[in-house]
């Protein structure tokens, strides 16, 4: 009897095939879907990316941040800054968004890593508030009232002319399609990178730190370095997403770009409802979130109340979320990271 270590399961192989089919469908979506569906999908995909990065922080890194809006807002403002002041194409400027978020992530980490647990949460929140108040002082970018992307920047955006002729649509619709494709690429890249990270040695180290920091240190894991890796990765990704979201909106204000509700509360609910500490959880969570949003959209604050009560209930009854419940019952893992020992038949020599 010989043994091999593997992470792949039959379910994950099937999921990979289904995932590829869904991906091709999503890429082709703009050819047959309405503009409003494309915009809904854009929202879903960007929320999914934010949720994956928050999940990486809290679910895998044990760093419960309530200050993700700092990176969304900073990414968005960096994009507006380089487009308005530097005259750079908005699509190319998205890369600067990630860098902008990194620039504030380093001092943030320096402060916040002195705090633990709930204090870390509030610390990140305070820093997000400080960044919001400072940005509101920046008069060239509209101060407290905000500003818009200049017309010439949005109309000459990269790829837009090409999409116009490809899909035979007006330039406004073409810009939405472009934003959607970028969001799709970002979502796929995010899931890919996080899955890859979790399957490397770093991922093992991360799980070890989350489960028992002292034990992890004793076998040589550099816990502080892992925290930095996770924090900076998620700040960079969150910043990119912030830039993309506000490239599509083309209008920004400090209160919207640094909104605690939009960029952190919703994201936390998505992850908690779907299942924290799994890659599948945020995907399931974002679908439920969007379903609830369309069902309860006319009820205003009842919608947020329902979401809050649902998240509280799930945290109390099933702390691993809906996906956790499902995979516990069925043993399903679409993105397995567990290394399992599999017996193989001895091969004839």
């Amino acid at each position: 009897m010989a043994y091999i270590v593997q992470t792949r399961t039959r379910a994950s192989s099937v999921a990979a095939v289904i995932g590829a089919v869904v991906l091709i469908l999503l890429i082709c979506l703009p050819f047959f879907a309405s503009r409003s569906l494309i915009l809904d999908m854009f929202t879903i995909l960007t929320m999914l990316v934010l949720a994956q990065f928050w999940n990486l922080l809290a679910g895998y890194g044990g760093l419960v941040s309530v200050g993700q809006q700092a990176f969304v807002g900073m990414g968005a403002y960096t994009l507006f800054g380089v487009v308005i002041l530097g005259g750079i194409d908005p699509v190319a400027a998205i890369l600067f968004s990630g860098i902008g978020a990194l620039i504030i992530a380093v001092p943030t980490a320096f402060f916040a890593f002195r705090l633990h647990g709930a204090y870390f949460a509030i610390g990140t929140w305070v820093i997000a508030e400080v960044v919001r108040l400072l940005v509101a002082q920046w008069k060239t970018l509209g101060g407290g009232t905000g500003t818009s992307l200049p017309r010439e920047a949005t109309s000459d955006m990269m790829f837009v002319g090409w999409i116009e002729s490809l899909l035979d649509v007006r330039s406004a619709a073409a810009r939405d399609v472009l934003a959607y494709w970028l969001a799709l690429a970002l979502a796929v890249a995010t899931i890919g990178v996080i899955y890859w990270l979790l399957r490397t040695r770093r991922g093992l180290a991360l799980a070890a730190v989350r489960d028992n920091i002292e034990a992890a240190k004793s076998v040589g894991v550099d816990a502080v370095r892992m925290k930095w890796v996770v924090f900076l990765t998620s700040a960079f990704g969150t910043g990119l997403t912030g830039g993309l979201i506000y490239m599509q909106k083309a209008r920004i204000s400090p209160d919207a770009a640094f909104s605690l509700n939009d960029w952190t509360a919703f994201v936390i609910f998505i992850v908690v409802i779907g299942g924290i500490g799994t890659i599948e959880g945020p995907i399931l969570g974002v679908l439920i979130f969007f379903l609830l949003q369309s069902l309860l959209a006319d009820f205003g604050s009842w919608y947020l109340m329902t979401l809050g009560v649902l998240a509280i209930t799930i945290m109390l009854v099933a702390p691993r979320g809906l996906w956790g419940l499902l995979s516990e019952r069925t043993g399903l893992h679409f993105f397995p990271v567990q290394r399992r020992l599999v017996a193989t038949k001895p091969t004839e020599k």
């Binding site: 705090l115 709930a118 204090y119 305070v126 400080v130 109340m305 509280i312 945290m315």
Partner: protein, 287 residues
């Protein structure tokens, strides 16, 4: 002279922040639970007082006495039926549950009372001031500061002079050993949260008398309270008041330089303290 005035006003404002923070400090000290809905509970307390004042035609100072037992019961129930189930080694459940509670409370208040700014009815007392040398001190800020001191003295008396306080300290140090001595930690936790809600009600009274409030202002109060607790050092009640005063002075001095810098100055003072003394000014020897 204007600077002396600004700093004194800041110290008195610190009394209000100390009141916001005392309940948070109490709960954290006993069960290491951080309630992210604390600010929204203060706002809810202010609405409760407003309802009692409007329905029964009472003075806010009488209405607060009626609100206290109601808020105690609410805190007790919240801890017993919800928060006790989240306590444990994992820090995620209490954070996420209280964060959810915060969003639920904000939106429930929004649904019930609309987004309009409200204020508790004021009378001659609330606008009066006393002249101390060249400086005029508002009676309301003085009363707030005095209440903060009374609350902290009362809590310290409770902690060190009563058997309930002994149970609080014992459970705080080691819940398992405390339960061997006949103390039921979950019961102690529920009573502690109930008492924290009484302090929240007092804080709510002054919040509502001194300024306008609406359902969305809770999170900012939570942040000020938190900053005060962290600056003071975890679990030290007098330290919490000092923390509140530091935030209050930073805010009034910031506002005196540029009105837009009021809140920012408070946050920056907090970050500076954190940089120099990561464990606060008066940390406990253990934990």
């Amino acid at each position: 002279m204007i600077w002396v005035d600004t700093i004194i006003q800041g110290i008195l404002l610190g009394g209000l922040y100390g009141l916001f923070a005392a309940g948070l400090s109490l709960v954290f000290g006993i069960m290491r639970l951080v309630n992210l809905a604390h600010g929204d509970l203060i706002v809810m307390g202010a609405y409760l007082i407003l309802v009692l004042v409007t329905l029964l035609g009472l003075s806010p100072f009488i209405a607060v006495l009626l609100a206290m037992p109601l808020m105690f019961a609410l805190g007790w129930g919240l801890q017993k039926f919800v928060l006790n189930r989240t306590l444990g080694d994992d820090i995620l459940p209490p954070l996420l549950v209280t964060f959810g509670l915060s969003i639920v409370l904000q939106n429930a208040l929004l649904e019930g009372f609309s987004a309009d700014s409200r204020r508790l009815p004021t009378d001659a007392l609330t606008t009066a001031s006393v002249q101390v040398g060249p400086i005029a001190l508002g009676v309301m800020p003085l009363l707030t500061f005095a209440s903060a001191i009374v609350v902290i003295i009362a809590l310290n008396q409770l902690f060190y002079r009563t058997s309930l306080g002994r149970a609080f300290r014992a459970t705080s140090d080691d819940p398992v050993t405390a339960s061997l001595m006949g103390i039921n930690p979950t019961h102690i936790f529920s009573v502690a949260t109930g008492i924290a809600m009484i302090i929240v009600t007092i804080a709510a009274l002054y919040l509502g008398l001194r300024s306008n409030f609406d359902p969305s202002i809770g999170p900012a109060r939570l942040i000020y309270a938190f900053e005060a607790v962290i600056i003071g050092g975890l679990g030290s009640l007098w330290g919490t008041l000092v923390g509140g005063i530091i935030i209050g002075v930073a805010q009034t001095v910031g506002a005196a330089i540029n009105p837009e810098w009021q809140i920012l100055a408070g946050h920056i003072a907090f970050l500076v303290v954190l940089l120099i003394r990561p464990r606060g000014l008066f940390p406990r020897s253990h934990d």
